[in-house]
């Protein structure tokens, strides 16, 4: 289990003021869950993810993964970035296998594992292509395969589909659900899109800016329903979906939401 306890982050802005980017956020990410952080721009979502990834130390609070405090980046937390960070000089297969190379796994095995993962994200036959020969969505899929290669305990994704068109985005969401259903990975996912949050999250936390804090939490089951029935239309047209959408929408758009942390369980 990944536990975030009362995590606060203060940055210093350029003019010397202090920015309170994250205010006493607490969060649990259990096995087999997808926790989605949702909120307007600048509410501290990336800050929270960077802290979990170990890129950013906390000002206050703690983060532990299976009881171990998180201090620096490591292969137990796979990160998928919004900007693609593939190495332009390496082939797709070598990019996917980068973490395995760091772990000292022999080339033959790396290649096999990379091809397997490329199959998982629907990119068979692209092992020897180079990143600049791929579309944005394909590159993002390579990024996911790369993060999965080291078999991390949790996958951290910062608006991974933010730059994709809506069609590709839907495909990628379904692909992610497939990967999740097959591998049972814990996932922490950041998005701007309420629909994406509702569709993907087993838990959704809504954040508000200045200071960045968690103002609401929801437990959902749309994603499990999709994994079982694979019927997007039924889910998107479900009345609970529309109700939740409106509720979260009003939360996100309320300028300074009170910290009315509440829980809601469907079914």
């Amino acid at each position: 289990m990944l536990q975030v306890r009362n995590a606060s982050v203060f940055f210093s802005a350029r003019d010397g003021r202090v920015v309170h980017a994250l205010d006493r956020a607490s969060l649990d990410i259990d096995a087999n869950s997808i926790v989605v952080a949702l909120g307007a721009s600048g509410c501290g979502k990336s800050t929270l993810l960077n802290a979990i990834a170990g890129f950013l130390p906390l000002s206050e609070g703690s983060i532990t993964l299976d009881g171990q405090p998180v201090a620096s980046p490591g292969a137990d937390r796979g990160v998928v970035f919004q900007k693609d960070t593939l190495l332009p000089w390496s082939s797709v297969a070598d990019n996917v296998a980068l973490g395995l190379r760091f772990a000292g796994i022999p080339a033959r095995e790396r290649r096999e594992r990379a091809e397997e993962l490329l199959g998982l994200v629907g990119l068979e036959g692209f092992a020897d292509a180079f990143p600049h020969e791929l579309s944005g969505g394909m590159r993002q899929r390579v990024g996911i395969a790369r993060a999965l290669a080291t078999d991390p305990k949790i996958l951290l994704m910062d608006e991974p589909f933010g730059a994709l068109d809506s069609l590709t985005r839907e495909q990628m969401q379904e692909l992610l659900i497939d990967v999740w259903a097959r591998t049972g990975k814990r996932i922490f996912f950041i998005t701007h899109s309420i629909e994406e949050a509702l569709f993907l999250g087993t838990n959704v936390v809504v954040m508000s800016p200045r200071p960045g804090r968690i103002v609401a939490r929801f437990d959902l089951d749309f994603v499990r329903r999709f994994a079982a029935e694979r019927d997007v239309r039924a889910i998107l047209s479900a009345p609970e979906f529309a109700d939740l959408y409106d509720e979260i929408r009003s939360l996100v758009h309320r300028p300074h939401a009170e910290a009315d942390v509440r829980r809601m369980v469907l079914q």
Partner: protein, 283 residues
């Protein structure tokens, strides 16, 4: 609909290859400049020929192309100032290459270290920033006094001239490294050394190669100064000694030889770049 489909089926005709296209490059990415450069060279040569043919400039200042060609053949046959042409050329090439190898093997690691490490940057920044804007001719007397008039002082002078661009470009290469790339590698479990080897070094490589190219260029332009130091061999020496006798045609032969080697080297570096960093500008 059917019409559209039919007109679109052109490409499937095997005899009629589809028109292959690619992204419009920005700047000069791979555009062929060879023919243009060749035409320019011929034009300059023609201008030279005409100017000397109609005696617009006295022959002492500007010899005719024929004179230079004859002189080149003469130097090739009999040598100049007690050494064959090949001895002059190889002496110069040896100095340039040894200096380049030394400058690269010191400048690249030091530049990388200065981009990564506070102490390396702190210690070496001041001396390098202090010396590198100095013209080599200014510290040439010191080289002679300290190191004598042998090969050492010449190679050290060239090395100093080449070192700064190589070192500064390696630093710039490290600075241009996007932090996301570093974070991505760290979250895949890279150790410090693996991070350096697989991320920092390749990311800095394009800048390093540019620095090497500039460094070699600076080396050629410092060569004549280096060979002022009591040399008896070398293209630079040949030019200097010819100028003492107002043998402009030999000066031109020397300049032509340096130009040819510098050009060949620059071309070689471009091939090396295309081979080592084919991804440049594509990420």
């Amino acid at each position: 609909m059917t019409d559209l489909a039919r007109s679109g089926s052109r490409a499937s005709d095997p005899a009629d290859r589809p028109k292959i296209v690619r992204l419009h490059p920005f700047g000069l990415d791979g555009a062929r400049t060879g023919p243009i450069s060749l035409a320019t060279a011929l034009l300059l040569l023609a201008a030279w020929f005409l100017v000397t043919h109609y005696r617009l400039v006295p022959p002492l200042f500007l010899p005719t192309p024929q004179e230079v060609a004859t002189q080149f053949l003469a130097v090739l046959e009999d040598g100049y100032a007690g050494a064959t042409l090949w001895e002059h050329v190889s002496a110069s090439l040896f100095r340039i290459f040894s200096a380049a190898v030394i400058a690269a093997s010191l400048g690249i690691p030091l530049g990388l270290a200065m981009g990564l490490n506070r102490w390396a940057k702190g210690v070496f920044d001041t001396p390098i920033e202090f010396y590198w804007p100095l013209p080599p001719l200014a510290y040439l007397p010191l080289m002679i006094i300290w190191l004598g008039i042998g090969e050492v002082s010449k190679i050290v002078l060239l090395t100093l001239a080449m070192f700064a661009p190589v070192c500064l470009s390696a630093q710039a290469g490290v600075r241009s490294l996007p932090i996301e790339r570093v974070n991505a590698a760290l979250s895949l479990g890279a150790s410090r050394w693996q991070l350096f080897r697989t991320i920092v070094l390749p990311s800095a490589l394009p800048e390093i190669l540019t620095g090497l190219r500039i460094g070699i260029g600076v080396g050629w332009s410092t060569l004549v100064a280096a060979e002022l130091i009591a040399a008896t061999r070398g293209i630079g020496f040949m030019i200097m000694s010819a100028s003492h006798f107002l043998a402009t045609d030999v000066v031109f032969v020397g300049i032509g030889i340096i130009a040819v080697f510098a050009f060949a080297f620059s071309y070689g570096m471009r091939l090396l770049e295309a081979w080592l960093v084919p991804w440049k500008g594509k990420s």
